[in-house]
Symmetry: C2
Subunit: 339 residues, 2 copies
């Protein structure tokens, strides 16, 4: 069994020529239906399986794409990967995983391996591949699809509408009566967009939003300490909107540590709706990203590009998921207990 059966073997056994067998296996209309059936049945009976490498070499197509998802995408990784895989397999593509490599000396080697395999396209993020890497792929005319690309650069991308997400969060808080909210974010494009959306909505609703920026690469724990320090200094906010869920839990903890209860004293809204968002206490109100859809859409677009079609970037709509970390505003002396 280890040594696979080949077309030659089948041809010999059935006393046909290679090409007839090949044609029969590929359902070519020219071959006699009876012959075709005979071939296919026999092939099946001996567990014949075509050799993808051989086929690739003679057709020039590999039906292989690379998914270069780095550390930073970790929290999303699972579901996005699942989405990618869903449509890939449905469309006859396989995906080679690549989770390491950003920027480091290994990136070049990693990309080389993908190139050697003659992948037909790549899905990646701005955080999982360097500009150099992108350039290299582009020079080889390998289609690239950027995930969560935040609309910077000429590449096709699939992303959530971050601005709208920010707006949704503020609309919700405004409806609950909040008039002063803290925005806790990173110095990253997606965070800035979420903040912009928040600000726009804030203007519409007469809400004041105050930004705190937190270093991104740093250990989150440390970042949260910063949040709590800033929170203590500020007096009158009643809600916190965070650039992502991880920040949001940090914020909740920080607030609780200085004696403010969530959502009673202050409401907290996250972004992403990671798997555990509903599991923490209080369950997190957050802006949901359609992650599987993102993966699926990405793969669909990438295949379209591979097929030579012209495709447009897609932005997916986020949606607010209201859970237990937000509540109507109540009169209080903010930070009172904390001193």
């Amino acid at each position: 069994m280890r040594n696979h059966i080949t077309i030659k073997d089948i041809a010999r056994s059935l006393d046909l020529s290679y090409s007839t067998v090949s044609l029969a296996l590929n359902d070519a209309p020219v071959v006699n239906p009876r012959t075709r059936q005979r071939v296919q049945e026999y092939a099946r009976s001996v567990n014949y399986r075509p050799n993808a490498s051989a086929r690739a070499i003679s057709t020039g197509r590999t039906y292989l794409v690379g998914a270069v998802l780095g550390r930073f995408t970790n929290s999303f990784f699972e579901e996005i990967a699942q989405g990618i895989e869903n449509v890939a397999s449905q469309r006859g593509f396989d995906v080679i995983l690549n989770t390491s490599g950003f920027g480091g000396s290994s990136e070049e080697a990693h990309l080389s391996r993908l190139v050697d395999r003659r992948i037909e396209g790549v899905i990646c993020t701005r955080y999982s591949i360097s500009q150099q890497g992108i350039d290299r792929l582009e020079k080889m005319e390998i289609p690239i699809l950027l995930l969560r690309a935040d609309a910077c650069g000429p590449q096709t991308y699939v992303a959530v509408d971050n601005r709208l997400g920010g707006r949704l969060a503020i609309e919700h808080l405004a409806a609950l009566g909040h008039r002063h909210v803290l925005y806790v974010g990173y110095d990253f494009v997606f965070s800035q967009l979420r903040e912009e959306g928040a600000r726009e909505a804030a203007r519409d609703f007469g809400v004041k939003v105050e930004p705190i920026n937190v270093p991104a690469a740093i250990d989150r724990g440390a970042a949260f300490a910063a949040v709590s320090r800033r929170a203590k200094a500020l007096r009158d906010f009643t809600a916190v909107f965070c650039a992502d869920d991880v920040l949001a839990v940090g914020a909740i903890q920080a607030l609780q540590e200085i004696g403010l209860s969530v959502p009673h004293d202050v409401s907290v809204v996250g972004f992403d709706d990671l798997r555990w968002a509903s599991l923490i206490s209080p369950p997190l109100t957050t802006v949901h990203q359609p992650q599987i859809s993102q993966g699926e859409t990405a793969m669909e677009l990438l295949i379209a590009m591979v097929e030579g079609q012209q495709v447009a970037s897609t932005v997916l709509a986020p949606r607010l998921v209201v859970r237990g970390s937000t509540a109507p505003v109540v009169k209080r002396a903010a930070g009172a207990k904390a001193g």
Copy 2:
């Protein structure tokens, strides 16, 4: 750029034969150092990259493995995948991702695709592939490495020492003075092993452990309801040990809902140490699984198998991570407030 340079091209340009170029590129010692350098430099200058398919077809090796990780492994997926990828890429292998497919009609097709690619090995779990699938791979003599295999079946596996994990949890609780703990688990091998470990330790320390089984496939929320019902019925437990972290958050919520505070009234220990375990409140005391190591070890063993070596299954040691969900036992009337 799209049409790749071949060895033939190089040979022609450098006025050498195919084979010399091939040998030079592969650092064969027979070729003249000067020739080799000339070839390699030229190849580099024209961005030559070998065609993996062509190479595969003539060497019979693909350096490709399949990772069939299903839904059930989701929570682990990221880090395990990372571990797998780490050593794979370091050893020159690529991994094809496969996240769907268990059991369903699609499994056969999925496996066929991997077989067509002539993967040299497969990493999977008992929950991500059917017995039929395993049989098929075995018949083709494709090495299989089972992840979290819980020691059932003849295949090589990599898993954490579940029994020891259970023991660690109980030891910790016993040291805190707990004498009656609830074990919340599934009807799965890994859960049973954790329970066994817990029971053994319990005997040693004079602790009583009471099991609650929760349906596994069901929505967790529903399961937690069951937990809370059972918890209300029981009077005198002071701690809960859960088969995994997801169950643990559920337990915490359930307990809080019936008016018991964690860890003041009852301590809770989880298992797995998922990424968010430290983020919830209280931060979860849990048995840590070395996930990246599991992935790495799995890949290392698989490669060894591919290389024809005899390898033994490996069990990795878990380790207890003490956080905020456990505390010394205090005298109380259990379930008092709940009525």
